[in-house]
Symmetry: C2
Subunit: 321 residues, 2 copies
Amino acid sequence: MAVYTDITDEELNALLSDFDLGAPLAFKGIAEGVENSNFLLETQAGRFILTVYEKRVREDELPFFLGLTRWLAQHGYPSATPMIDKAGEALKRVRGKPCAIFSFLPGLSVRRPTAAHCKEAGQGLARLHLAAEGFPLTRANDLGQEAWAPLFDTLREAAENLKPGLAAVIEGDLAHIAAHWPTDLPRGVIHADYFPDNVFFQGPLFAGAIDFYFACVDQLAYDIAVTLNAWCFEADGSFNITSARALLAGYEAHRPLTPAERAALPVLAHGAAMRFFLTRLHDWGATPAGALVRPKDPLEYERKLAVHRSAPDLVLLGEAS
Amino acid sequence: MAVYTDITDEELNALLSDFDLGAPLAFKGIAEGVENSNFLLETQAGRFILTVYEKRVREDELPFFLGLTRWLAQHGYPSATPMIDKAGEALKRVRGKPCAIFSFLPGLSVRRPTAAHCKEAGQGLARLHLAAEGFPLTRANDLGQEAWAPLFDTLREAAENLKPGLAAVIEGDLAHIAAHWPTDLPRGVIHADYFPDNVFFQGPLFAGAIDFYFACVDQLAYDIAVTLNAWCFEADGSFNITSARALLAGYEAHRPLTPAERAALPVLAHGAAMRFFLTRLHDWGATPAGALVRPKDPLEYERKLAVHRSAPDLVLLGEAS
């Protein structure tokens, strides 16, 4: 949950006076996103989400994120899209912090995705990759493969504290991933954090995606690998091949994979597990006791790493064809 | 902010299957109320708030609170009202905890009420007292005047820690309040926590009240005293007579005070300040460092106590007539 910034009715009225959205009818802090403060805002013009950006989001990157979600909406992809004020601006300020007002995207995220949900999610991911084609702005993936070894250099001790002997195992993983990492797969805008809590459904159907604050330009199939890891593992740590097959079938219904993309899935999934293991390990150590946001357990992704290390072809069994 | 209980989509679907509210369309934890977990719930039937009761609310008191808000809605008073399931039940359970689904009450609370807001709030309070007439259930005020001296017995040391010498001053206040406390003023259902964050406006107009979890049967004028303390002090600690006059005028537009009620306002306001001083002092000491909910500063009400102690007639200058 996260509402770090308090907005008074006076500050809200001042912000809304720049827009053509009418008077506010309801305003409630909501527990969504961990990187910023979010508020449900109802005005005479409809329902919106006010997002106030906290220090973890770099302000100079906001034009990319806001521009991307506007682009996606204009190209038929369901995501929360920022409203433009009377002067044509989407990026605003409230209480000295950057903010934006987004359209309200209805839908519910699922806690335990079924194979049917995975198929829908796969379709939604492919539609995202296609809708983003031609988006003119670019942003490097600062948590991409090249960043992992330097990041791990700062986390050796944390890894050993988590599990004695783990540092050497991770080093082996990093070397394997670096040696096999593809570099010439089709590139484009990826979500890079397409987890179940960032995907909305209406009943059984995909309804849209939120939280594009890790979006960047990278190899598209890496986004699939992140998604396979996030959606297709059971609570007991086992990889659900049925779900993976459904996810890939859903994806390929809109955008078939190239043979090179398919062949790269094992190392991409291994690397995607590394990315989330490392950032969770970092956040685990960096979060003070009693903090408002509890960090996610790095061991979940340590187990996923182990699966991809010991059974690299497992994700290939989820191939659609 | 408060979302203590996590509800999965599966648990939500199971709960909703008991109601005639259709399928869920959106579901978000919201930062409202500190005693329980609240979720914005949109279904095919409209918008609702799901409240999950945490341990601070006694389950055997829920029929009073739920019955009261249903009664108020049926008698034309705008408040969130609990929905009844197919079996006629309002009090339900989810994840082993009691819960209820309330109608969504639109409106915004104001941070710094003007005199005009105070007048509207006064009207809203009188309308509440009148609408509740005839409500058949009853609940004693367990934080009423008789509870304060025993509560303070447990807080002497905390008071001294807050401000050396304060314990003796509070004891003097308690003796004064006990000696002058009225017992035969008109009684009825009071809100007992009618603070600005529990009162909604639509533009400049009163739109309804929420959070009835301190409601009980007590002297009606005590509710006015709580409200005067909550709405009519400036940030610098001074009492705003213009706001108090507006609040009382708004109240008396619907329910004129008796001479005895008017005469009792100084001691009622002194006592109402004592009630919130004591519970804030209690919560201040009882809240562990790093807790999710930051306790409110007891010094705010210590200053209000000082105002009523040194200038008991101040609230009378706010008299409507």
